[in-house]
Amino acid sequence: MAATSRSVDLAREDGFWVSRFRAMAGPCEVLIETLDATEARVVAERVADCAWRIEDKYSRYRRGNVVDEINTADGRVITVDEETAKLLDFAATLHDLSDGLFDVTSGVLCRAWTFDGGTRVPTQAEIDVLLPLVGWDKVQWSRPKLRLLPGMQLDFGGIGKEYAVDQAVQLARNICGRAALVNFGGDLAVSRSRADGRPWRVGIEDSAVRARAASRVLELRHGALATSGDTHRFVLADGTRYSHILDPRSGWPVRDAPRSVTVAAATCTQAGMLTTLAVLVGNDAERFLEAESVPHWVLRH
């Protein structure tokens, strides 16, 4: 996104000050429960700055940032900053916990797969070429030093947005005593419960549901919601719908992946990880979420 489009709109709607801006390739909004436009503007601007900072630092489409430095290191050792080290520690932990299903190095598989609603499915040979470049177990990570094999790519896309929501909502909580809701493209968190104790009402973004003119409205008093799914991104070939969720171990889309999974948790990152893992286990998504006993909503078909 061009830097020139980095502006924050602030409008009074339904008893809130609502700020809108674009970040991380999607629409973002912040609802602030105050009458005070000044207060709202301070929160809105700080939240947007937070989103843009994380986007600039971790977008793999930007040149010159830490991800670019890692991805162009060509086998050299890179020393990373504290924030990046924390994200890498987190990625390592999740890789271990998920038995390799969650993998920040799986992005190179996208060279074979293009999930644009088209019909092209890659050959196994095309995928086999890429598999040696996928796998956190091939990465040498000894805080703060990181070494990837030449040709490997790191992508924080699976963490970045949820992490940004949590950072932003923490910021809002620190600078403003009022309740605020931070929503970055459907991943959202609230800073505190509303002044009157009522829950926040949140509609889940879902084109299939929208098409039926129904909506799923969830009530949220605390914490966060994250949604994963292939609502918008898929390949349709020979009657098979391939989700954009790839199993990094095989290089193929996860079979029977739910169309969308929404999870409520204390933080957006936590919710996001659980939705991602639920989608990755495909057929077992519901069973996995039941076992985790988290509030969840799974949509199939």
Binding site: L10, T38, G197, R221, T267, L274, V281
Partner: protein
């Protein structure tokens, strides 16, 4: 995942906390703060040992689900000091019967007479309930009670607001009715009765009442992302005993302007001049128009308001008020405040009564019904804590000057103190918090 049999949620939560550098937040369902408190301690002090008021107030709001609130407002006031009685200054000392009728008090030569028996404690409690009763409609109902030594107030109010235009416009209407019982020290004086010697209660009756009906219509409009406009019309109808039972007028010589002298009955204590208790009409209709604009200049919020008031006692008033909230960093602000007030005198305002003239129907020498101008200059400082509480402190200086309407000063009156200009200081400390 082969580890599917064991849940990983706790491990994910722990990893997330490490990543975000926060303690594990609980996903509690119902820990919302339910009570909002706004507490304040206020001191108002006039110069030269006149009125002093120390007041403590607690405003509490309990939030229930579905936009329903209970509001409780408790105030305790302690008033001490003296206020001008309405009698004029003289070259010699003056003696007055105190309002109780049991004693006398003296005013030194050249001084504007003050009634220094002024001492009271007021207790007030208001209870209100607010709730939506249809989509976009909210209603408020309340009861109020206050009591002080010589006065009891009982009131009820009912209000409705409706939101329009995606809640950018709010229209409100409210009605309030109050009944007040007045039981002054020594009884309510008869209209324009003469001040009598100690022990003679022939000028006093018993108690009295008044009724007050208030109506309010208002519109609040969000004009843009940074501007809010509010316009109110108010109507107030009071009837019953509207006189101040402690205010008097001096009866003066029409040429010299000096108070007519008298002597108490032999052996009795009593006034050394001729004074009459004031009398006001038994009804008063007031109307007011108020407009306020608040604008956010990217961080600094300016609020400007103007109020015009008019009533059938002939008093027109204008109030101009401006505040600028200036943030300092994220947690502090300062707010300068400027207010100007002016009014003209009531039709029946009399600086003094002329001896020999027929008594008017109504007369009062209360300085608050005269021509007066007041200026308030203040500064507030507020500090907000990370948890959302707020401390604030406010200091204001008030200066009031009055004028006797043209032609009412006679003879010697114009070379004596007329209205003492009033200087007052207001200091307030407040704390807002949630539980």
């Amino acid at each position: 995942m082969s580890k599917r049999d064991t849940t990983i949620g706790h491990a994910v939560a722990a990893a997330t906390c490490t990543l975000l550098g926060t303690a594990a937040p609980a996903l509690a369902e119902d820990e919302a703060a339910r009570w909002d408190f706004d507490t304040a301690l206020l001191y108002y002090g006039e110069d030269n040992d006149r009125v002093r008021d120390l007041s403590a107030s607690i405003l509490a709001r309990r939030d229930f689900d579905d936009d329903r609130y209970l509001n409780l407002d408790l105030t305790v006031d302690s008033l001490t000091g003296a206020s001008p009685s309405g009698a004029i200054a003289m070259d010699g000392p003056q003696t007055f019967t105190s309002p109780s009728g049991n004693d006398v008090y003296e005013t030194a030569a050249g001084q504007v007479p003050l009634d220094d028996t002024f001492l009271d404690t007021r207790f007030a409690l208001d209870v209100g309930w607010t709730q939506p009763f249809a989509r976009l409609y909210t209603m408020t109902a309340g009861l109020g009670f206050s009591t002080e030594y010589d006065y009891t107030h009982l009131g009820a109010n009912l209000g409705v607001t409706r939101d329009f235009n995606r809640r950018n416009t709010t229209v409100s209407a409210a009605v309030a009715y109050a009944q007040e019982d007045i039981d002054p020290v020594g009884g309510t004086p008869l209209p324009l009765a003469l001040m009598q010697d100690v022990g003679d209660d022939s000028s006093k009756a018993g108690t009295d009442t008044k009724d007050v009906l208030d109506l309010l219509l208002g519109v609040t409009q969000v004009i843009g992302p940074s501007t809010v406009l509010r316009v109110n019309y108010s109507y107030s109808d009071s009837s019953g005993y509207l006189t101040d039972p402690y205010k008097i007028l001096s009866v003066v010589d029409p040429v010299t302007g000096d108070t007519i002298e008298r002597a108490p009955a032999s052996g009795a204590l009593g006034p050394t001049g001729v004074y009459r208790y004031e009398a006001r009409p038994d009804s008063r209709r007031k109307q007011g128009l108020y407009a306020e604009v608040k604008h956010d200049f990217t961080g600094k919020v300016l609020g400007v308001s103007y109020r015009f008031g008019t009533d059938d006692w002939g008093i027109d008033s204008h109030t101009l008020d401006a505040r600028l909230r200036w943030p300092i960093g994220e947690f502090n602000y300062v707010e300068p405040h400027l207010r100007y007030y002016t009014q003209n005198a009531a039709d029946f305002y009399r600086f003094s009564l002329l001896d020999g003239d027929p008594l008017p129907s109504f007369a009062s020498a209360d300085a608050r019904l005269a021509d007066l101008d007041g200026v308030t200059l203040g500064l507030k400082y507020g500090h907000r804590t990370v948890s959302g509480s707020e401390w604030n402190a406010r200091v204001e200086l008030y200066q009031q000057s009055g004028n006797v309407p043209g032609g009412q000063l006679i003879g010697n009156q114009s070379r004596r103190a007329v209205f003492p200009d009033l200087d007052a200081v207001i200091v307030q400390i407040g704390y807002r918090f949630k539980l």
